[in-house]
Amino acid sequence: MAVPILKQGQYLIASIQDALTDADLQQLRDALLAQVGRHRSRGVIVDITALDVMDSFAVRTVRDIAHMTRLRGAETVIVGMQPEVALSVVQLGLSLEGVHAALDLEEGLAFLDEKANTARGGRPCA
């Protein structure tokens, strides 16, 4: 089942609707990577609210998405992780190191806007 990816300004929003197989997750990763280039996106939001389980493969793929899109110039934010999922990920001993996370879509967009503003403002002159 393909995950719909919406383009919203400079951002891409992938909204997962249902449990994903490994193949679905890999397809999402590849699609996001391609679309970041096609749309010259600066940010990616992956909404995982609908994921009721994140096992080692899902965690690794989400981490890959974040790291790969960063290499293409876009920041990824994971939003909507259920508290039960957060607990199981930690208990499994997995980490999403280097991956930004926000509570929900609104917070995720705010995070990306803030990042974009900082980037536009540039560094203060020495």
Binding site: D18, T21, D52, V53, E84, Q91
Partner: protein, 159 residues
């Protein structure tokens, strides 16, 4: 929900047999799921969550159980290609729980002790995830023989 289930079935081509609703409450519900592809991982953990929910486990435990099943099923697909997941309602001294048996006739694990250590991996990836599965469950048992296969049995009790 029914439609999702069908989608998973057609994608994975799994077979499920189920026995339930016996007269005696001690007669456990049992579900057996054939594992052949990554689509079966989703099926197995969904079945596990359903059984856990029917046994009165809260949503937190349901998720821990479903995650453990996901890891165990993944090991089968990854290392043995095919196998079976058996889910069973269990009871002991008034408490009720769920038992998950993951069985395959794959290559087996040469050094079980090592595989149970955090961070150990033979595939260069994330490893078997067995230490994680052990943390997610209350009881953990593994029997493995090189060339014969591996059986992992885990239990989680409803408190």
């Amino acid at each position: 929900m029914r439609e999702r289930q069908r989608a998973a079935e057609s994608a994975g081509g799994f077979a499920v047999s189920q026995r339930s609703g016996r007269a005696s409450p001690d007669e456990a519900q049992e579900t057996s799921i054939a594992v052949r592809s990554d689509a079966d991982i989703v099926v197995a953990r969904r079945r596990g969550r359903e059984l856990a929910a029917s046994l009165g486990f809260g949503s937190m435990d349901q998720t821990l159980i479903a995650t453990a099943i996901s890891e165990l099923t993944r090991n089968i697909v990854l290392y043995a290609q095919r196998g079976r997941i058996v889910l069973k309602a269990i009871g002991q001294g008034g408490k009720c729980g769920i038992m998950v048996v993951a069985r395959d006739e794959g290559p087996g694990i040469p050094d079980v002790e090592k595989a149970l250590q955090s961070g150990f991996s033979t595939s260069g990836g994330l490893g078997l995830g067995l230490p994680g599965v052990r943390r997610l469950t209350d009881e953990f048992d593994i029997a493995s023989e090189v060339g014969r296969g591996t059986t992992v049995t885990v239990k989680k009790w409803n408190r």
